[in-house]
Subunit: 291 residues, 3 copies
Amino acid sequence: MKHLLRLADLPITEINRILDCAQAAKTGIYDDSETKRIVANLFFEPSTRTQYSFNTAELKLGCKVINFNAASSSLQKGETFYDTVKTFESFGIDAVVIRDRKDRYYLDLIDRIHIPILNGGDGKMDHPTQSLLDLLTIREEFNHFDGLKIAIVGDIAHSRVAHTNIEVMQRLGMQCYISGPEEYQDAQYDSIDFDQAVETMDVIMLLRVQHERHDQAMSISVEHYHQQYGLTMERVAKMKPHAIILHPAPFNRGVEIADDVVECEKSRIFKQINNGVYVRMAVLKRAWESD
Amino acid sequence: MKHLLRLADLPITEINRILDCAQAAKTGIYDDSETKRIVANLFFEPSTRTQYSFNTAELKLGCKVINFNAASSSLQKGETFYDTVKTFESFGIDAVVIRDRKDRYYLDLIDRIHIPILNGGDGKMDHPTQSLLDLLTIREEFNHFDGLKIAIVGDIAHSRVAHTNIEVMQRLGMQCYISGPEEYQDAQYDSIDFDQAVETMDVIMLLRVQHERHDQAMSISVEHYHQQYGLTMERVAKMKPHAIILHPAPFNRGVEIADDVVECEKSRIFKQINNGVYVRMAVLKRAWESD
Amino acid sequence: MKHLLRLADLPITEINRILDCAQAAKTGIYDDSETKRIVANLFFEPSTRTQYSFNTAELKLGCKVINFNAASSSLQKGETFYDTVKTFESFGIDAVVIRDRKDRYYLDLIDRIHIPILNGGDGKMDHPTQSLLDLLTIREEFNHFDGLKIAIVGDIAHSRVAHTNIEVMQRLGMQCYISGPEEYQDAQYDSIDFDQAVETMDVIMLLRVQHERHDQAMSISVEHYHQQYGLTMERVAKMKPHAIILHPAPFNRGVEIADDVVECEKSRIFKQINNGVYVRMAVLKRAWESD
């Protein structure tokens, strides 16, 4: 049994093994015979992509799926998070996928829950399957990681995607920069001017402004944001010929990304979403490997 | 691949072919081996009948099903309708069933989404599977359409069921009338006095007053509505011997239909609901036919 | 076809037969070939345990499952409870599991719905599968019922679990007592002082204070409740050596049960949850037996 909690715990060889397995699944080499397995998706925060992407991955593997609707559950009767997860374990479920608002929610669980936990996002900390699908998309494009330059642009401070990605990408030999409004930056990372990033990076990864995680309103207007940090076709034209655009989505058209950039030639945004299913198939299969 | 967007796009031969396929499914002649297919039900408006009827149809065909819960999704983070649907396409889903508040929501999708879209209702415009199940119920009863007289009674102006039905029923040779409170009528259709309709029609189709689509309150009281336009057992007694009662449901007992009429001998209301599953099996199978 | 509405309708032989079947399922002797069956879970009250336990049981039997989301359904358009259930019957569903706020909701249904109804809890009246899982847990522990002493502690007046359990346990030869704050007791049952119960009972069953069923606030504070009626490790130490602790859950840690008691050696709380799945598999199989 193998949890997937954060990529920082996994050696590079293990990350590459997961990517290989996802790539194989993408070419159709996978086993849909996990028909005895039941997986529960426990999402305590709203999600479209991650929840339904896991759901699709589970169905493609042949698993049975329980989608837990937190809004109409006993959490309303004061049940704790741990007790809810322990309940699903007690049902005889074979794995749980969990997203929660709390950073490292899994620290309360790992010693006391004896089925695999797949982290679908914890607070502002980690989002391992998102990083894995970003890595798969980059590897498909460039066939290597070493020496590639990436700028992650936008609300770095509130982004579990940024933190998870920079840690693993640096280990893989990539040069990582951050950019965007000063108020959302993080002093521990190298910063780069956005327009300079556009012209020099191999990968531009845009982030959504996560209004729902902010205590106060953004100090600059949406129009100002778009003008200063929005990826427009004008800016796309200045990107290096082979460079690509990533975005973990959901994206706000007209804010961090112009409408016509979403599906432009350099965008890999919907390819990322497609890759996400294969990455999740890989980590589910891995969950049931013996230690 | 074949969308199902509105019946007005389908020739009579195609409509009959769908009804034949539904009839065959009803007699047990159907294939439940679509076990590799995943269908996503994307309902952006509340629904019991249509959503769970599609769900049942999908399961009976052997498909795997993802029910998208719009209330806890990334729509809350500002994601657009198109981007949500594109996301499900990118997952590798095999078909989407969509209901949305917006008239012709599919116009934004058809050139850009490359999986079958089955329309589960768009705004005040169309509800093709509802019409198909009405047609199947009428055909089972009378074995033909030509020359049959139908009155659709109630809130015509806000009803996608009325619009879709009148268009296709007229093409099938039926004589269609509308009736009910003047404020809800539509000048493009032939109107008939309700009590006259009761005595002369082959089919009385009742509609629910759709308070949720109205900008202002109904000018007549519920009691008055029931007295003037409600189908009571007294009125049922005046119907032609072979005539039948339809209602797309949900119905409001004591408003447009008296309590004891719902399951009276002339009512086909729950038979319609049953037929809905077979009709939806037929349009799902059709969705995956080659063009 | 067999409904499961309340245990008071079932003879002891039938209850034992269900427990035997659940026990066999627990040891792995069960049939997962109900792949043609569709079961709908219609929960009109929030639930974690019962709904997802039934869901797991259905999946383990191979059934297909429809989870009805009451919050986004046509109930919002004024549809009646009966009409909602009749709609699922009309879809061709093979059984419905229902929880509703109304006592004996099924009285409106039993003569008019012709598919098995499995009661997942009705108002303050009954919760048959909860009692069955309590019985299975007790029987596994003691290998008999006759002469065992149980105290049910807490909010007896609002508890369908208490009512259902006392009726059936008395028939099985158990001696049943109630305990807890006076305002929540029920004069028809034998009452016992809580600390005396702790020292003399074979089974201590704790109940949650069901704030959501109360018209007014509890007259004693949470701290006072915990001090007077909370099961603490200090009290656990005074229990008879073989005695066990049950709780239907969800539980409120620090109110009726101390944090460290939940998973202490005498607690069978998570075992109950596990047994619930097997009991529900048994009642589902029974639902499709001929009368």
